[in-house]
């Protein structure tokens, strides 16, 4: 673990130099420890793949104090690999009219579209980070067989609800946005909803399972083509 200055009132904690499930579990445990402190002087806590950024109240902590405090709090992070997490099921319509890159991926990966769908829905994904857009969750790891680099020419507009792949990561676009990920399907699942008390149904603690549904089911859930 290494703690660096991020700005005059924030520090960043690095837990490793790589992206891995092990690192992600450490970040999640550390995030829980920090949140459980319920310390008002921790103004913002942003977990990501291998780090946590903390903005703190400089009237309560100076840099050396906060560093010492964080080292004390996080010196022994316990990971429970068998911890059961809330699995959220996301229904996806993997049709060609919404899965804009399915045909292209099928060609590149030398797999049938059915195989791509089968592989994408066969795993339960962990959330490694949330950001870029509110509710945009970076999930991993996608099976190597369907891992795809980002598009050379990003799209100006990716429709809300698009389910996408970039390298070994998968994600859902919470709203219309420019982007360069490969689009394989679409969901009616809301990732950022002002009517929810929590704003988003996802946190880094959740796991995601994708389920393939038919066009009719998608439409009946309020999905739009």
């Amino acid at each position: 673990m290494q703690i660096n200055i991020a700005s005059a009132d924030s520090v960043i904690i690095y837990f490793s130099n790589d992206i891995s499930k092990q690192t992600s579990l450490i970040v999640k445990s550390a995030y829980e420890i920090l949140k459980a402190e319920n310390n008002k002087s921790f103004i913002e806590i942003i977990p990501s793949y291998n780090s946590i950024l903390i903005t703190y109240d400089i009237f309560r902590f100076d840099y050396l104090n906060i560093k010492e405090q964080l080292e004390k709090l996080l010196h022994n992070i316990h990971i429970d690999k068998n911890e059961t997490k809330d699995i959220i099921n996301v229904d996806v319509y993997y049709g060609l009219e919404v899965g804009l890159d399915l045909e292209n991926m099928s060609e590149k990966a030398q797999l049938s579209i059915d195989d791509i769908i089968k592989i994408h829905t066969s795993k339960i994904y962990d959330i490694y980070a949330i950001g870029f857009l509110p509710g945009f969750a970076y999930m991993a790891s996608v099976d190597n067989k369907i891992a795809m680099p980002r598009l050379e020419n990003p799209r100006k507009k990716i429709p809300k609800g698009s389910v996408a792949i970039a390298d070994n990561q998968t994600a859902i676009y919470p709203k219309d946005s420019p982007g360069g990920w490969n689009i394989i399907g679409k969901t009616a699942f809301e990732l950022f909803d002002k009517n929810l008390e929590s704003l988003s149904p996802l946190t880094i603690k959740n796991q995601i399972k994708f389920n393939a549904i038919s066009k009719d089911e998608f439409l009946s859930q309020g999905g739009q083509l």
Binding site: I5, A6, S7, A8, I12, S48, L53, I58, F132, P134
Partner: protein, 305 residues
């Protein structure tokens, strides 16, 4: 109802406050006033709570009609400012009577002006804040900038009140070169001594790519030994160095995580000054150590405690 009828909204007038906190883990940005000095001075002059809401006005041609008595304060960018066609200078409070028309004409120096009323506007907060973030459709009135025809309610206030800030506390926004103090941090070890020397000894220019999210500069190219990093949390004021070597300073509506290497962060209190500078202004970076930087921030916020 007592309040302001928005006769003309201007192109980009936002209801703001100190920002929306505690949701960055979901990707929701902090938002908040771009120039806290001007905004907090406006609140202080009215003895308002520092978390009160305020209008941030970035373009001219704003016209408000009061339907009840109140007091307002106006700070920030220099502008043509009128009450019922009588011109006044700003950085002071004004007693407003029912029926008065407040008008903001041309902005002559600076980029944003601030207008608040005694005890703030009665607008329901969204997720803890009135700050408008248009791209997230949060805060303000229905998540967007003010529109002509909107109504901003306030509670009637009749007591006489007169406060004018001393000239020495009124900043100028037109010096030849703005100095931005920087604490090194994040990936500063991926920049060699030569690169850091270049960074601190060159003059940069503010480009047109400057908004509430970030300010892109142009000038001497700076190179990090890495092209990208694993995406991580981004602080207010942090300086990203993308592959083209041109610094980007991240501001109030920055994205919460990102993958460009960062050399460190501009002091928040200097970002407030930056918020008032026009395109093509020269800026220069100056190193400050963390201890002194924290003292400067404390000095600043102690003014408003």
């Amino acid at each position: 109802m007592s309040g302001f009828e928005i006769i003309k909204s201007g192109i980009f007038t936002l209801l703001q406050d100190q920002g929306r906190f505690g949701l960055t883990h979901l990707g929701v940005t902090n938002s908040g006033v771009m120039d806290e000095y001007a905004a907090l001075m406006a609140q202080k002059m009215l003895h308002n709570d520092i978390s009160s809401n305020i209008l941030e006005i970035a373009f001219s041609n704003v016209e408000l009609k009061a339907t009840q008595n109140t007091i307002i304060s106006v700070t920030g960018a220099k502008c043509e400012f009128f009450i019922n066609t009588v011109p006044y200078s700003t950085w002071k409070t004004f007693s407003i009577k029912r029926g008065d028309i407040i008008k903001i004409g041309k902005i002559t120096q600076g980029q944003r002006l601030y207008l608040c009323v005694k005890n703030g506007f009665d607008v329901e907060k969204e997720f803890g804040s009135n700050s408008t973030t248009v791209k997230e459709n949060l805060g303000g009135i229905n998540g967007h900038q003010l529109k002509s025809g909107d109504f901003l309610a306030f509670k009637r206030y009749d007591k006489p009140f007169n406060y004018k800030l001393k000239d020495q506390f009124i900043p100028r926004y037109d010096e030849d070169e703005l100095v931005l103090r920087v604490v090194l941090g994040y990936q500063d070890d991926t920049f060699t001594k030569e690169e850091k020397d270049k960074f601190f000894n060159s003059s940069y220019t503010i480009t047109a790519d400057f908004n509430r999210m970030a300010c892109r500069l142009s000038g001497e190219k700076i190179t990090s030994s890495v092209d990208g990093i694993i995406s991580e949390g981004i602080s207010f004021g942090s300086i990203q160095i993308p592959k083209n070597g041109q610094p980007i300073i991240l501001l109030k509506e920055r994205q919460t995580i990102g993958g460009y290497p960062k050399i460190g962060s501009v002091l928040s209190i200097d970002c407030f000054k930056l918020a008032q500078r026009k395109v093509n202004t020269k800026v220069r970076f100056e190193l400050i150590d963390i201890k002194l930087a924290q003292q400067k921030l404390k000095d600043f916020y102690s003014l408003f405690k």
